[in-house]
Structures are given as structure tokens and as C-alpha cells.
């Protein structure tokens, strides 16, 4: 089976010396109650601790506990890990772990021809096969013939391994994922200690459950060792990746976003008031921040999306940094309040963890289809800056940048991330906080000739005087304000002036953001692939591979979505063609066409999955012509 795995394994004369692989993609798939996400994250953690680079793709259903054994209840977790820089979760798994027939039904097509299929035969019976939609047993009818199949009665072996702990049948069966994890850890030479430590913590209140789960991990691992001796299984090593020196940890986008917001607050010298209403896939951010009270973070679980943003705006009015977070449908509800923050010119960070739309759409699947909503989606002329993160670790920097722009320009800022980034994990070089440039906020305290709409002549940002300070009492609101006094004004010329000023203030931010760089390749060529957000990994890999084939292709990955970097239009002119792959129907392509009159070619995918490198390669080759 070894020869079919990933890149060329180094064959070894001694079968007990593991073959070495450059990289492997494993997908764990099972029922949503089987604990596949936990299995995946623990495998990831163990892998990361060994210095192997990785990227993950958790893919789970919207239903918390869909009926057992159904195809729509299948939850999967894919990890790509390797002894080289890993940028995507992998196009196709080399290994598929299928915990039941439904998982096989929904995931087998993804498995590479010749790939390894580990299957729990104990979960295959007439009833579960029928539930998954099989009319005959795929393990027997030739369906799995193109693959290396490892048939194991994981259910039975798990039961045996935890027998001595006196668990109920149901509890014992729930250790199945840990047995499987143990086997996979053995198969790829991963250490077990981090899993054991995690289980001790997770089941701190039940020694029995902790012991049973650890026993299951160990049993799976031991099974591998024994089976190898018998020649039934092989195991492999995946070495350390050649990455920059430093201290690393694994991080998901939601985690690094939370850290970035806290760091941004500290750099601005402000406490954070995070108002949010639970929504998939954005809730993780609320959970992360709710645990950071000691860092001056107050979290408020509001009664709805509107109250969430309004509370954040209220907090900014009172001198905290208001932050709110949601996903597409919730962002739509916040629109009117964003307009208020724009016209009262208060700092605010709005995080949008995008998901498939419209309406409820695909709550747990990823998409980039809220770019129009972010740039254009409010009543009136209501510009605000929009920035997008491209990797889980990048969310940290982007969050700090969102805070910086919000307080410096007294404006709401939309930070676009997505469901994929929020949940995906990668090794992250821990940043040096002391090396980050602080941008302390100076509240206006001088009462003399005070007007709340006195502006910084350079940034056009208004001053920020907060309640509690004597002499700067003022009233602001959604009605148009006089340019000088800030009092209500319905004067025609004044509205023109204020609208122009708000517009120019936001466009002026382009002078305060880095110029766009060519992310990869030359400054001129046949084609530039322009992307933004979480498509970074697949586009990078595809451009890299296309360049290796000799194509004159470059990559530009944009962080500042609005205003756009000043030199972006010029950069695009250096290329014969512009290709814009997006997980939407072409929203950024519209923005580029509108701003630069460039004939941007659209590549659009809205199937809830990240782009495949192979697909991008093909389109790049076709576009270059």
C-alpha cells in the first residue's frame, strides 16, 4: 500500500524502518456524533508538536446531531501535513478513514485512486448500509477495488480495549474515535503524549472516562505495531518541515482573530467591548473572547444581531473599542447601525465570518460572497474600510490593522474572514508583541472651542471626546450634522460637504496602507491571478506549480479590499490577462473592473469547498492559452 501514498515513499529494505513521506492528506469521516472533529484536531496538534507543517479543513454539517448513520450527518476533518511548506488542506485525501457506510458514501469519491481506505467494518450492516443509500455492500461489490482497503472491526476492538472500565455500551462505543486516532498516530509516527494530556484535562471529572479513552488510544496504537509485525500494515514517517526558526503553536483563524483583537486593544490603549449574537460559524470568536476578561475584554451576548452592533457602538461612544461579529445573515441585520457608526464617525470593528448564502444558505460551509455587502451594503453613501484575512495566522495581523484603522480614522471597519479560516488550523510562529508599534488613542479633553466634528486636517478623522470629561459634552446622532458645530443640519450644501468629507476620509486611508506587492512571481507576464481571503493557499500553490511548468504567471493577493491599494491598478497593467478566482459569482472581479476598467476573467466556485489546486492549474493553463 505504501507506494500509493502521496509522493514517492523511500522504500526500505528493513520493513520495520518506516518509509518516509514528504506529505500526506488524511480525511477522517464519520457520523457527526462520532467525534471526528476532535479526532482531527488531536491528530493535528500531535503533528504540529513534531514540527511538521500542516493545514486543515474541518467540514461538518449544520445539524448538531443529525440522525445517526445518515449521509447528511457526516462530519469530516481533513489534514494535509508534510515535511515542506503546506499551504492548503490538500486537493484529495491520500487516506480516508470512514467510520460508517454514510461516511464512505459521501467521501469515497474524494479519495485518490489507489489511496488508502481505513474502514470500520463493525459499523457495516444491512441497516446502516440502507440508511447510507447502499443497495449492496461496497466493501464486497467492487466499489472499493481502486483503493488499498484496510478492513478493521474498530467497533469490536474498541469495545474490547475499554472492557475493564465498566462503561455502558454507548460510552464504550464513543471511544471508537480515540482507538482510530491511536492507529493513525502509529501509522504516521506521531507522538501520543499530547493526546493523553488532553484527555486527562477533558475528562478531569471522570477518571473512568479518561482512562478508557486513553486505553482506546493505546489499543489502536498497539494494534498498529502488532499488525505491522504480521505484515498487514505499514507505517511511515513525515519529517519536520523546513520552516523559519522560532516558537510555534497551532492556531485556528478564530483563535488568532481573538488574539489580534485583544492585541489591537492593548496597542490602542483601549478596553474592548465585544457585542455579539451567536451564529455559525462566527460564535467561536465570542467563545474565545469571553474567556479573556483579565485582558480588559468585556463580552456581551446580545438579544439579537442588531443589539450586538448597537451595544458595540454605544461602548465606542463611551470610550471603549466596540467590536461586533457575525456571519452573512447577521451582518445584513447590522446594516442600519453601521450607517449610524459611519455618520457619527465612531470606531468599530465588524467581523464577518462569511458562509454560504443567500439567507440561511450553508451555515457550516465556506464562501466569499459578502464582499458586495461589505463594500456597498448600506443605505445612503456610506463608505467604510474593508480588509480581509487570508490564512488562520493572518487573522491576527488583520485584526490589529482593523483596530488601527478604526481608531485612527474614527470609522467602522469590516474585517472579512470565512468559515474555512475560522475553523482551519495551521502552525503559527508566535509573534513578538513587544515589536508591534503601539497606536495609543488620544481622547479630546480640551473644552475650549470644542466641537465633536473638529477634524484632523490630514486624516479627516473627527476628534473623540468621551462621557466623563467635563466641558466636552456633546450630542451626536444619525441626522446630518453641521460640518462645523456638529449640531443637526438639513442644509443642502452642508450635506454635500459632509458626504464628500466622509467619502474622502475613507478613500484617504489608501495613503496609510502598504502598497500592494506582487505576492509571487514577476511584476509583468502573461497572467496575474488576483485573489483575496482564504483562497490564498490554493492560489499560491497553483501559481507556484504553473510557474514551475514555465508559465509566465504571477500572484497578487489583496488584503485591503476597500479602499484598494493605490498601486493595484498599475500592477494589473503589467499583465496580459487578469484571472480572479473567488468563492462567489465574481464580486471582487466587479470591484476591479469598476475601479480599473480591467478585463478581469472570473473563476467562480460556490460549492462550499475550497478551490482545488489541480482545478486552478488547469484554468491558469487555459487562460494563459
Amino acid at each position: 500500500m505504501a507506494t500509493n501514498l502521496a509522493q514517492k515513499p523511500t522504500a526500505s529494505a528493513d520493513e520495520h524502518v518506516p518509509a518516509s513521506l514528504e506529505s500526506v492528506v488524511i480525511r477522517f469521516a464519520g457520523d457527526s456524533g462520532d467525534g471526528m472533529q476532535l479526532t482531527g484536531t488531536q491528530f493535528t496538534h500531535s503533528t504540529a508538536l513534531m514540527g511538521t507543517d500542516l493545514a486543515t479543513f474541518p467540514d461538518f454539517p449544520a445539524e448538531i446531531r443529525a440522525p445517526t448513520g445518515t449521509t447528511f450527518g457526516v462530519s469530516a476533518y481533513q489534514i494535509n501535513f508534510g515535511a515542506r511548506r503546506v499551504l492548503t488542506a490538500g486537493d484529495q485525501p491520500d487516506v480516508l478513514v470512514a467510520m460508517n457506510p454514510a461516511a464512505l458514501m459521501t467521501n469515497l469519491d474524494a479519495l485518490k485512486t489507489g489511496g488508502t481506505l481505513v474502514v470500520d467494518t463493525g459499523s457495516f450492516n444491512d441497516r446502516t448500509l440502507a440508511k447510507a443509500g447502499y443497495t449492496s455492500n461496497p466493501l464486497e461489490d467492487g466499489t472499493v477495488a481502486p483503493y488499498q482497503v484496510i478492513r478493521l472491526d474498530i467497533s469490536r476492538m474498541t469495545m474490547e480495549s475499554v472492557k475493564e472500565f465498566g462503561l455502558s455500551n454507548k460510552e464504550a462505543m464513543r471511544c471508537k474515535n480515540m482507538w482510530t486516532l491511536g492507529l493513525m498516530l502509529w501509522m504516521y509516527g506521531r507522538q501520543r503524549q499530547s493526546v493523553v494530556d488532553w484527555l486527562r484535562g477533558k475528562f478531569a471529572k471522570s477518571q473512568q472516562l479518561a482512562d478508557a479513552n486513553i486505553a482506546a488510544v493505546n489499543a489502536g496504537h498497539a494494534f498498529g505495531e502488532t499488525a505491522e509485525l504480521a505484515g498487514d500494515l505499514s507505517h511511515f514517517t513525515v519529517g519536520r518541515a523546513d520552516v523559519a526558526p522560532g516558537v510555534y503553536r497551532t492556531i485556528t483563524g478564530a483563535e488568532s482573530l481573538a488574539l489580534g483583537l485583544v492585541a489591537g486593544g492593548k496597542l490602542a490603549g483601549l478596553d474592548i467591548m465585544f457585542g455579539s449574537y451567536p451564529i455559525t460559524p462566527a460564535s467561536t470568536l465570542l467563545h474565545q473572547l469571553a474567556r479573556l476578561k483579565e485582558h480588559g475584554v468585556v463580552t456581551f451576548q446580545a438579544e439579537d444581531e442588531i443589539a450586538a452592533i448597537c451595544s458595540a457602538i454605544g461602548a465606542s461612544f463611551a470610550g471603549s473599542l466596540g467590536v461586533t461579529s457575525s456571519s452573512g445573515p447577521g451582518i445584513a441585520l447590522k446594516g442600519e447601525a453601521m450607517g449610524l457608526a459611519i455618520t457619527t464617525e465612531l470606531p468599530l470593528v465588524i467581523v464577518n465570518s462569511q458562509r454560504g448564502g443567500p439567507s440561511t444558505g450553508l451555515p457550516t460551509k465556506t464562501e466569499q460572497s459578502d464582499l458586495y455587502q461589505a463594500i456597498y451594503g448600506r443605505n445612503g453613501d456610506a463608505p467604510l474600510p474593508v480588509i480581509a484575512s487570508s490564512t488562520p495566522g493572518d487573522c491576527f495581523e488583520v485584526a490589529i490593522e482593523a483596530v488601527r484603522i478604526a481608531v485612527k480614522y474614527m470609522t467602522p471597519v469590516i474585517l472579512l474572514t470565512d468559515g474555512y479560516l475560522a475553523n482551519a488550523a495551521e502552525p503559527w510562529p508566535v509573534p513578538d508583541f513587544d515589536g508591534l508599534e503601539p497606536f495609543p488613542v488620544q481622547f479630546e479633553t480640551n473644552a475650549e472651542n470644542f466641537s465633536p466634528f473638529t477634524r484632523d486636517p490630514k486624516t479627516l478623522a473627527r476628534n473623540w471626546a468621551i462621557p466623563g470629561n467635563p466641558g466636552t459634552e456633546h450630542r451626536i446622532g444619525g441626522i446630518e450634522k453641521d460640518f462645523v458645530t456638529g449640531n443637526i443640519s438639513y442644509a443642502a450644501d452642508n450635506h454635500q460637504l459632509m458626504t464628500d468629507t466622509r467619502w474622502n476620509k475613507i478613500l484617504g486611508i489608501a495613503d496609510d496602507i502598504p502598497l500592494q506587492e506582487i505576492t509571487q512571481g514577476d511584476a509583468a507576464g502573461d497572467l496575474v491571478v488576483v485573489g483575496w481571503g482564504s483562497t490564498f493557499g490554493p492560489i499560491y500553490r497553483a501559481v507556484e506549480q504553473s510557474r514551475a511548468k514555465g508559465l509566465k504567471v504571477s500572484q497578487i493577493h489583496v488584503r485591503y479590499m476597500w479602499p484598494l491599494p493605490k498601486n493595484l491598478g498599475e500592477l494589473l497593467k503589467g499583465f496580459g490577462k487578469v484571472l480572479v478566482p473567488e468563492m462567489n459569482k465574481g464580486q471582487f472581479a466587479t470591484v476591479l473592473r469598476d475601479n480599473y476598467l480591467v478585463d478581469a476573467v472570473r473563476l467562480n466556485q460556490v460549492n462550499g469547498q475550497p478551490f482545488k489546486v489541480s482545478h486552478l492549474n488547469q484554468v491558469i493553463a487555459e487562460t494563459v492559452g
Binding site: 442588531i306 451595544s311 461602548a315 461612544f317 468621551i466 450630542r475
Partner: protein
């Protein structure tokens, strides 16, 4: 108050230079006057005071107060006020809303700000009509109300604001009348003194679209017979000579209107107002039927921990548990490994 000017502020000092733009004769003028007087009496620090409002006639209020003010969006003032208190619990926050702003588009937020018990004063100007949009019926308009959007008379059942507040879990519920310049400041002071969400319904006359809708109990002549001023520890009596009162009908758990001296009724039969009694409060705010007065005053007051107080308590506890929490420690939390 500015430390350099120790002299006491007067009501006028709380007024801005902005021209008040309510219709001549609007009940809002009287409320504005009362609130300004109340702040002067309380020696409120304008720098520490914030007026927050939504949208509607009443919500223009902050523009006329020489304090901090935030005129926000329709119905959402409770959420802004909550955010302000969470950012700075020391601020003295007053929220001004109306029957449309607070009970229609903003009903959800009003429910939750009361339930959470955020430490603010909520003044709900109830005129039983939409004024700023030119006279449509509101959620408190009585059935049959004829308006541009209900030419055949409203067929909706109306909401009782104080009953709504009690059901939402409000710990302070009071009522007063716009023109009652003696009563209102007292009620506002009680609301201000209460730690938690203080809900005050103010009957406010809309002279243009719903004139005299409360006249049957607010007119000077009618008031004694039709208004009952509840005061904690005092008997619930009304009438020109305080000869009428409320008695509990124990067979029906209902309140009945009785006259002292008639049918053997003595003063001892009359209920004593206990503002900590939620059941009594509910009966008082829903009092209805022939001869029933409209109960004004502090109807319910029973403080519990405030939401902002609870949040601050948890933050303090977290900070005490990790006094040296810094960013570096947070960044390196969990398992790390070193490369090179």
C-alpha cells in the same frame, strides 16, 4: 460638575442652545422641563450624564440636554445604553423612548434591557400614537383608534407598557403624567436612585394627532377622582377627599374599588401599598373596569444586582485571579514548540 464652578446648577444650565422643535403645546416640553429640574435638584454632573434615545418625537430629547447625548436608531436605544454602561459603568445613563420606538420596533430590546437589569433610567413617553410619521396608530393605541393607517378604527389590542415591563422582569416600574410638574420630578428622582433598570411610563399628550387621549384622568378637575397616587406604606386611596380605595377581594384574588364609610368599609379594609410586591404591582398597573382609577407613582421597586455590576464583578474576579495577565503570556498559551 466642573470643579472650578462650585455654584449649584439650575434647571436652565441643563438646557442646550438648540431650538426645541416639538409642536407648540406638545407634552414633551413639560417633560423636558421636569427632567432639567430633576437634574438640577440631583446636582447631576453634566459631564457624567448621558441621554440616549432611539427615533421618534420623544427621541429628539438628547439634543436639548446639555449633557452627553446619543440620538441613535429606531428602537435600539436600550442596546446602545447597555454598551455605554458596559464600557463605563460609572456613567449616569437616561434613556428616552416612546410607545412606537420602545414597544413596537424596539420591543425586543426593551424586554432585554429590563430583564438584564442594566442600571439606567428609561423614560417611555406614551402618547398612544405615532407622531413623527404623522399620526398612525401605535401598539398602545386603544382598539377603535382612527388614524391614517386605520381609517376604520384600529382592530389591534393595545399593550400596557407597565405590565410589559413587569412581565419582562423590571425591578422598578413607575408612572407619571407629563403636565404633573410636582409629581414627575419626585418619580424621576426615585428612578434615578434605584440601582438597576428603572422604567417610567409618562402619559404624554400629542396635541396634534391624539389630543386629550388621557384627559379623562389627567384634567385638573378629573384627576382626583380618576388618579390614584401609590406611595409605599400608604393606603391605596383616591378621590377628592381620599374617600375611595382599593380592597383585595380574597375570593377572586382581584382588586375592587370601594368607598370608605359605605357598606361597612373602613380605612382598615384598604390595601397598603407595598412596592416590593410584584403581584400587587401587576394588579395595580392593569386595574380596569367601572370607577377604576389610573394608578401613578412608584408601583414596583425591588432591587437586585445590576447587569453592569455583575459584568464588572466577573471582570474584577478574572483580573484578581490573573493579576499579571499580559499579551505575551496569552500569545504563548497552550502547547508551543521551537524550530531551529
Amino acid at each position: 460638575m466642573n470643579e472650578l464652578s462650585p455654584q449649584k446648577l439650575t434647571a436652565k444650565d441643563y438646557a442646550t442652545d438648540q431650538e426645541v422643535r416639538w409642536c407648540p403645546g406638545c407634552g414633551d416640553y413639560a417633560i423636558l422641563k421636569s427632567v432639567q429640574k430633576t437634574l438640577a435638584d440631583l446636582e447631576a454632573d453634566p459631564a457624567n450624564t448621558v441621554f440616549v434615545s432611539g427615533i421618534g418625537c420623544s427621541s429628539r430629547f438628547p439634543y436639548y440636554m446639555a449633557t452627553y447625548g446619543f440620538h441613535t436608531i429606531h428602537g435600539r436605544a436600550p442596546a446602545f445604553a447597555t454598551g455605554i454602561k458596559l464600557a463605563n459603568p460609572r456613567l449616569d445613563v437616561w434613556m428616552v423612548t416612546g410607545d412606537g420606538d420602545g414597544l413596537s420596533i424596539g420591543g425586543n430590546h426593551l424586554l432585554h434591557v429590563l430583564r438584564r437589569n442594566v442600571d439606567i433610567q428609561i423614560l417611555l413617553f406614551n402618547n398612544e400614537i405615532y407622531g413623527l410619521t404623522k399620526g398612525q396608530y401605535s401598539p398602545t393605541s386603544r382598539p377603535g383608534t382612527r388614524s391614517p393607517s386605520s381609517p376604520g378604527g384600529s382592530i389591534e389590542r393595545n399593550l400596557n407598557p407597565c405590565n410589559f415591563a413587569l412581565a419582562a422582569g423590571a425591578r422598578f416600574v413607575a408612572r407619571t403624567v407629563d403636565t404633573d410638574q410636582k409629581h414627575m420630578p419626585d418619580i424621576l428622582k426615585r428612578a434615578h436612585g434605584h440601582r438597576g433598570a428603572s422604567f417610567v411610563e409618562i402619559y404624554q399628550n400629542c396635541i396634534v394627532f391624539n389630543d386629550a387621549v388621557f384627559a379623562d384622568f389627567t384634567d385638573k378637575k378629573a384627576a382626583p377622582e380618576r388618579q390614584l397616587r401609590a406611595e409605599h406604606g400608604h393606603r391605596l386611596v383616591f378621590g377628592a377627599n381620599s374617600e375611595k380605595g382599593l380592597r383585595l377581594n380574597r375570593d377572586k384574588v382581584a382588586i375592587e374599588i370601594v368607598t370608605i364609610g359605605e357598606n361597612g368599609i373602613t380605612e382598615d379594609d384598604i390595601l397598603v401599598h407595598d412596592e416590593t410586591d410584584a403581584l400587587l404591582a401587576q394588579m395595580l398597573v392593569t386595574l380596569d373596569g367601572p370607577g377604576a382609577p389610573v394608578v401613578v407613582g412608584v408601583i414596583y421597586c425591588n432591587p437586585v444586582e445590576t447587569y453592569d455590576g455583575g459584568v464588572a464583578r466577573q471582570v474584577e474576579k478574572a483580573k484578581a485571579a490573573k493579576p499579571n495577565a499580559d499579551m505575551k503570556e496569552l500569545l504563548f498559551a497552550g502547547s508551543t514548540w521551537t524550530v531551529g
